[in-house]
């Protein structure tokens, strides 16, 4: 199954599931990244990690290790 990291910059996708990593998944959820939400990977830091994901017009920074736990299907 595809996860956030498999998206290209600028590509949108629908979140299908968030795999528990830590209590981080709770934080991610409260930031509005949850099932059925449309997300877009919009930036990668100059050094390659972390990335910024756009949700509802806000940009949320996540490390790649956490982004991997967010499963998506491209739309």
């Amino acid at each position: 199954m595809a996860n956030l990291l498999s998206l290209k910059i600028g590509q949108s996708a629908r979140v299908t599931q968030i795999r528990a990593v830590n209590h981080i998944d709770q934080r991610i959820l409260s930031l509005g990244i949850g099932a059925d939400v449309i997300v877009k990977v919009c930036k990668v830091a100059p050094l390659g990690d972390p990335i910024a994901v756009e949700v509802d017009g806000a940009q949320i920074v996540l490390r790649k290790s956490e982004a991997q736990g967010i499963l998506v299907e491209p739309v």
């Binding site: 830590n22 709770q26 930031l31 930036k43 050094l47 017009g57 920074v61 490390r63 290790s65």
Partner: protein, 742 residues
């Protein structure tokens, strides 16, 4: 008969500002109270609760500004502030009567998540849609009337930065005081009531109070809730009861770890369905274009390094002319007051050599402080600071810090105290402690005077302005270079807890407001001046006294006799002739005698004796007793070195007459005895070693006490010993390597 029943004495109304980070709570707080809380375009500017008074039409109310948060869940006691205030858990501030919920209007859905959680508390609420000005540019439209109908509380669009909507907020508060209105609560499945009741019944808090409903939600839904520490029962018992309560939910087909967000967002989507119209095409233009450059692989990194370099260059070079003016002013005052006090030599010395010299030497660095704070404020308010955290996370993560450590560390370049306070925005306890531990290594503005003095006197004249700027940059970089491996060791070997991930919101770029920048500069400058008037002033007097006393006419006569005897053996003339030459104040001999007298007096003063006693410790770093004393005197606050050196050289009569600066005095300073006699004390290795010592040493009482507060005694002591040891080793290395290799 008149009724004995008078209306109950009205207590002050309590109002709390709550919302996501960076939505404008502090800006509104300032508008409503007329106070000046710090604001900034970075999530997490406010780190602790602040109270102020606001006017209503017939009364006043207490307004509380709180740190921003995305949710009520708390994994550490610091994160608990908001939920604790809401439940009236602080004895000093009761439960709020009204909540001013500050939402970022351009991001309504996400912001309402916290509001929906808060609705459980059943406190009347005003829904403020701040940053209303950014709704249209983000390609959205909000149907206000529809929203008002749905939320069932006053909904007020505001623009905090333009003070728009402030009156409407006050009106809404008054309406709510007449007739409370509440945000519609989420409809929980029936099993929730059983779970909540079970927890309330089985888990009493310390002091036998009951958990509130919102607190039971935290225990139910959070994996490591900080509420546990408030319970009367053991953590094991709490875990067991929470497990039982979660079973109620599981039986109802819910996964307790994701149910909360799912249900709240479903509730919110019902509330705002059809309210927000999006025009996807328009979505953020400017921010995207700027980021394309500033977060670019190559350009982005270059811009980051370039910006940091410009800051340090500017601090060094722009301040020069202003410093010269302040220095001239100091000499001018001394010349003005000096003659008037000629009759009382001791008072004259106290005022001229002690107070004016000591405090003046310190105040000279005011321009640097102002420039540094102007830059920090500009970087923060524009939104770049959050980008810097984004860029730096990779570099920081391998050593156990994270991107959010960047802002505390950069603030520590101004002063470690706000820097250490700012670590509260770091959720991961391990990264947070490591950041607290390494923050004092960042080269704070109190070190700046030492660098400027040393570089201005010894580097710039010989190697030119380019190397001067470079040295200053290198000194500021040194702290970071030491901090990174230190953090690595601390997080790898000392703190054994599991590290936690990094999540942060990137704010949009904004044009900084001149007013905010100027205010930040003024505040920093004023604090600096106050320091000059209090602690520096006091220490200055103590140091002057310990350098001046013991002193007596007998001693002076003895010194004169030995000086004369020496001149006689040198064959200048017989005793009477030498004495006659000394009578003439303008003669070269009289001048030489004054220097001799000054340094002899200092040599045998209390401070001089202590200096000689401790000098062997600093011998390997090439420090003479005067530097050793100044280093010792700087432990309460490192800036004191400047005043101390100022007084030592001024009392010693060494300060050059034409150029009254300390800089010149240091240049002329030579070893008086021993094998190095008559060679300069301040060679380049000594100067670099001295700067390195100040870069690394823990010389700030205020910082040590804030570490005690944020991390405990143990860490404060470790930090003090570690930094001092490192500083000494650094200075010795510089001197030994520099002297023996070059």
């Amino acid at each position: 008969m008149e009724s004995a029943v008078s209306p109950a004495p009205k207590r002050t109304v309590r109002i709390a500002l709550i919302g996501n980070p960076n939505t404008g709570k502090s800006t509104l707080f300032n508008n409503l109270t007329g106070l000046r809380q710090r604001t900034g375009n970075y999530p997490g500017v406010t780190v602790s609760r602040k109270a102020g008074t606001m006017k209503l039409s017939n009364s006043t109310a207490e307004l509380i500004d709180l740190p921003g948060t995305y949710s009520l869940s708390a994994h550490s006691p610091d994160e608990r502030v908001v939920i604790d205030v809401l439940n009236g858990r602080f004895t000093e501030i009761g439960k709020p009567d009204i909540i001013l919920f500050v939402a970022d209007a351009a991001n309504l859905r996400r912001n309402l998540f916290l509001a929906s959680q808060i609705a459980t508390l059943k406190i009347p609420m005003v829904m403020i849609l701040n940053q209303w000005d950014s709704v249209a540019p983000s390609g959205q439209q909000i149907d206000l009337n529809l929203l008002k109908g749905r939320l069932k509380v006053p909904v007020i669009p505001t623009i905090g930065t333009k003070n728009k909507g402030t009156l409407e907020i006050i009106e809404a508060i008054e309406r709510l005081l007449e007739e409370p209105q509440f945000l519609p609560e989420i409809h929980w499945p029936k099993s929730m009531a059983s779970a909540v009741d079970h927890l309330k019944a089985s888990l009493p808090c310390v002091g036998n109070e009951l958990l509130s409903e919102s607190e039971t939600h935290r225990l139910l839904f959070d994996t490591h809730s900080a509420e546990v520490s408030r319970l009367k029962v053991s953590a094991d018992k709490a875990r067991k009861e929470v497990k039982t309560a979660r079973e109620f939910l599981r039986k109802d087909g819910m996964n307790p770890l994701v149910a909360e967000a799912m249900l709240h967002y479903r509730h919110i989507d019902g509330l705002i369905g059809g309210v927000v119209l999006k025009d996807a095409q328009l979505a953020h233009g400017a921010t995207e274009s700027i980021d394309r450059l500033l977060l670019h692989r190559g350009w982005g990194l270059a811009a980051f390094v370039g910006m940091m370099y410009v800051v340090f260059q500017a601090v060094y070079s722009w301040a020069g002319p202003v410093m010269d003016i302040i220095e001239m002013g100091k000499v001018w005052i001394q010349d003005l007051i000096g003659p008037a006090l000629a009759g009382t030599p001791m008072l004259q010395s106290l005022i001229l050599d002690g107070v004016i010299e000591g405090v003046g030497a310190f105040l000279v660095f005011l321009p640097q402080i102002l420039i540094l704070f102007a830059f920090i404020s500009l970087l923060e308010d524009s939104g770049y600071m959050a980008r810097a955290a984004f860029i730096m996370d990779k570099l920081f993560s391998w050593c156990g810090l994270n991107g959010k450590s960047f802002v505390p560390l950069l603030s520590s370049y101004a002063c470690a105290i706000p820097g250490i306070m700012a670590t509260r925005t770091i959720e991961d306890p391990k990264s947070r402690l490591a950041t607290v531990f390494v923050a004092p290594f960042m080269s704070c503005s109190a070190r700046l005077p030492v660098y400027i003095l040393c570089i201005g006197a010894f580097i710039e004249p010989v190697y030119g302005p380019w190397w001067a700027g470079f040295t200053l940059f290198a000194m500021h970089f040194l702290g970071l270079a030491v901090a990174v491996p230190t953090a690595w060791v601390v997080t790898r070997f000392v703190l054994k807890t599991k590290s936690q991930p990094f999540v942060m919101e990137l704010p949009k770029y904004r044009a900084p407001r001149m007013k905010d920048v100027l205010y930040r500069m003024w505040q920093a400058g004023w604090e600096f001046i106050q320091k000059a008037g209090t602690i520096i002033f006091l220490i200055t007097i103590i140091i002057w006294a310990s350098l001046y006393f013991p002193r007596s006419d007998d001693k002076a006569a003895d010194f004169q006799a030995s000086f004369v005897a020496e001149k006689v053996t040198e064959g200048i003339g017989n005793e009477a002739q030498v004495l006659a030459l000394l009578e003439d104040a303008d003669s070269e001999l009289a001048h030489e005698f004054n220097l001799f007298l000054g340094s002899s007096q200092i040599n045998q003063s209390y401070m001089g004796r202590i200096g000689k006693a401790i000098q062997p410790i600093f011998e390997p770093a090439g420090f003479d007793w005067r530097i050793s004393i100044s280093v010792l005197a700087s432990y309460p606050a490192r800036e004191v070195i400047i005043s101390t050196l100022g007084i030592i050289y001024s009392l010693g009569g060494d300060v050059d007459e034409e150029d009254g600066s300390l800089r010149a005095a240091l240049k002329n300073s030579e070893w008086q005895e021993g094998e190095k006699s008559s060679t300069p004390i301040y060679t380049v290795p000594v100067v670099i070693g001295l700067m390195v010592f100040f870069a690394l040493c823990s010389q700030c009482g205020a910082t040590t006490s804030i570490i005690v507060k944020e991390a405990g005694w143990k860490w404060a002591i470790i930090s003090f010993v570690y930094m001092t040891a490192l500083a000494w080793i650094g200075a010795v290395l510089c001197y030994q390597v520099g002297t023996n290799l070059f």
